[in-house]
C-alpha cells in the first residue's frame, strides 16, 4: 500500500538523520481521497456494487468526475459529490488513486 510505504519511508528518513520534507506526500490529496473510502473502500478498493477507484487511469477519473458534475453521466450520489470539488482537486485525487495497485 503506497501510503504505508511512504509512512515507513518517513521513518527511514528519520533514522538516517534527514528531515522529512512537507513535499514528501500531498497530504491534502491523500485526505480528500480518504473522503471517498467509506463508500469506495479503503484506498479505493471496493467490496460489492460500488466501483473501485484504485488504479483508475487519471484522465478517466477526471473525465468521469466532470461528467457527473455536468450530468452527462447519469448517477445516484455522484452528481452531488462531484459538485463539491474543484477541477484541481479532481486532478489531485485522480493522481492518488492512479498510483494505487488495484
Amino acid at each position: 500500500m503506497e501510503t504505508k510505504k511512504l509512512a515507513l519511508g518517513l521513518l527511514v528518513a528519520g533514522m538516517l538523520g534527514t528531515v522529512a520534507t512537507a513535499q514528501a506526500v500531498d497530504t491534502r490529496a491523500r485526505f480528500m481521497a480518504a473522503n471517498c473510502s467509506y463508500c469506495h473502500g479503503t484506498d479505493g478498493r471496493s467490496s460489492g456494487a460500488i466501483p473501485s477507484l484504485a488504479g483508475l487511469d487519471a484522465k478517466y477519473f477526471v473525465d468521469q468526475m466532470k461528467a457527473f458534475r455536468d450530468g452527462s453521466r447519469p448517477a445516484t450520489v455522484m452528481g452531488k459529490h462531484a459538485s463539491g470539488y474543484t477541477d484541481a482537486e479532481y486532478e489531485a485525487m485522480a493522481k492518488y488513486f492512479a498510483a494505487i495497485k488495484p
Binding site: 500500500m1 501510503t3 504505508k4 509512512a7 515507513l8 518517513l10 521513518l11 527511514v12 528518513a13 528519520g14 533514522m15 538523520g17 534527514t18 528531515v19 522529512a20 512537507a22 497530504t27 491534502r28 491523500r30 485526505f31 480528500m32 480518504a34 473522503n35 473510502s37 467509506y38 463508500c39 469506495h40 473502500g41 479503503t42 471496493s46 467490496s47 460489492g48 456494487a49 460500488i50 458534475r69 445516484t76 450520489v77 452528481g79 452531488k80 459529490h81 459538485s83 463539491g84 470539488y85 482537486e89
Partner: protein
Amino acid sequence: MSFDRRDFLKASAGAAGAVSLGTLSGCASTATVGGAMPKIVVVGAGFGGATFTRYMKLWTPGVEITVIEPNAQFVSCPTSNEVLAGLSQMQDITRPYDNIKKIADRWVADTVVAIDPDKRTVKTAGGQTFAYDRLILAGGIEILFDKVEGYDAEAQKTVMHAWKAGPQTATLRKQLEAMPDGGVFVMSVPRAPYRCPPGPYERACLVSFYFKQAKPRSKVIVLDGNEDIASKKGLFLAAWKKHYGYGTDKSMIDYRPNNMPRSVNARTMMVGTEFDDVKGDVINVVPPMRAAEICGMAGVRDASNGTWCTIDFTTFESKVVPNVHVLGDSTLTNFPKSGSVANNTAKMCAYGLSEIFAGRQPDPAPVVTNTCYSASTNSTAFHVATVYRWDAKTKSMVPPKNANGVSKEESELELAYMRSWKENVLNDTLAL
C-alpha cells in the same frame, strides 16, 4: 492491513527519537508528555474513534494511541433496522475489533469514569490513569431516560430504544416476532438534533415490511417529537404510500407529528404524549439524547443548554477545552449525525493533527462529506448526499451549488449501493 506491524514497530523503535526531533521541533504549540511523540487517548471505538485510530496511525505512525472501549465487538447502528425486520441477523451487523486492536498501541477494555483536562489525564473504572497530549472523545450519545416519566430501570427491561445497536436490537426483534398478528407497534422519534435523522422513518418502513409479510393486520404508530418528518421527507412519504398504504384507510403506518413521548408505563404498555395515551403491544421509545457522558466529564458540552459539543472544523478540537477533540454524534454541527460523517470527520481530525505534528498548520479549508442510505423495503433504498466545504465569509461548512441532495426515487440499484457502502464503511473503519 497489509503492512507488517512487527516490521513497523522495529523501524519505529529505532527511529522514534529522530522522527520526533525532525517533525516536532518546529512546532512550539505541540506540548507532549515527556517530550516524546504525542500521546493520544481515544475514548470510544465506534465509527469516529476507530476510524481516527486507523488513519492517525497511517498518517503519523509515530504517535502513541491508547484506545479505551468497553465493548468486545463492534455492532453497527447503520442497517440495524434490517435486523428488526428479520432481513438480516445480529452477526451481519457485528464485526471484530481484532485489526484495530493491532493498530492501536494499547487497547483498554474499560469505561472512562473521570477526565481531568488541566492535568490531561483520563481515569477508568478499573482504576487505571492515562496521560494524554490529545484526547479524542468519540463516545456517541447518552440517552436521557429521565426525560421520559416512568422510563426507569425496571421499564427499560421491557421498553427498548434500540438506538444503540446491540442487545437492544436483538431484544426488540424478539418482541416483534412474538407480537401477534393485529398487534400495534408504537415507536417514537426524538426532537432534532438526534443520532441518524432518517433512522426512525426507515424503521417505520422496515417494521411495516416485516408486518406486511408475517402479520399483515398489524400497525405501526409513529410518535414524532418533531413537527414533521425530519429527513428525506418526500422519499419516505412516497415509500409509505407505495408499499404500506399510507394515506388510505388500510395504512399500516399511523404517523403523528408533534407527539413527543412524555411517559411510558411498561405494565400497561402505554406511551403518554401531551395529547393522549397510546397503547402498544410492543413499544419502542427513543428518549431525548445528548453528547456522550465522557463529554460531560471533560466539560465540552458547551452548546444547546449543555447537551452537544461545538468544535473547530480544522481539527475537531473542542471550542471550550484545549487538546480535547470531539468526533461523531457528540458534536453539534450542520452535518447529520451519521456513520459516514463520523468516519469522514475522524479522518479530518487525523489529517489536522498530522499536519500539526509535522510542524505545519492544519488545512484552513477542510472538505468533508456525507452519504447516507435508507432502505424502504427488502429490495429498495434511497440516499442523501452532501459535500461540505469551509466558507471563509460565513465561517461555516457550506455545500457548494448542486453538492447537496436526495434520490429522485427509491431504486434497487441504491439498495445494492447501500449494501456495498455497509461493507466498505465497516472495513474502512475497522481495518478489516
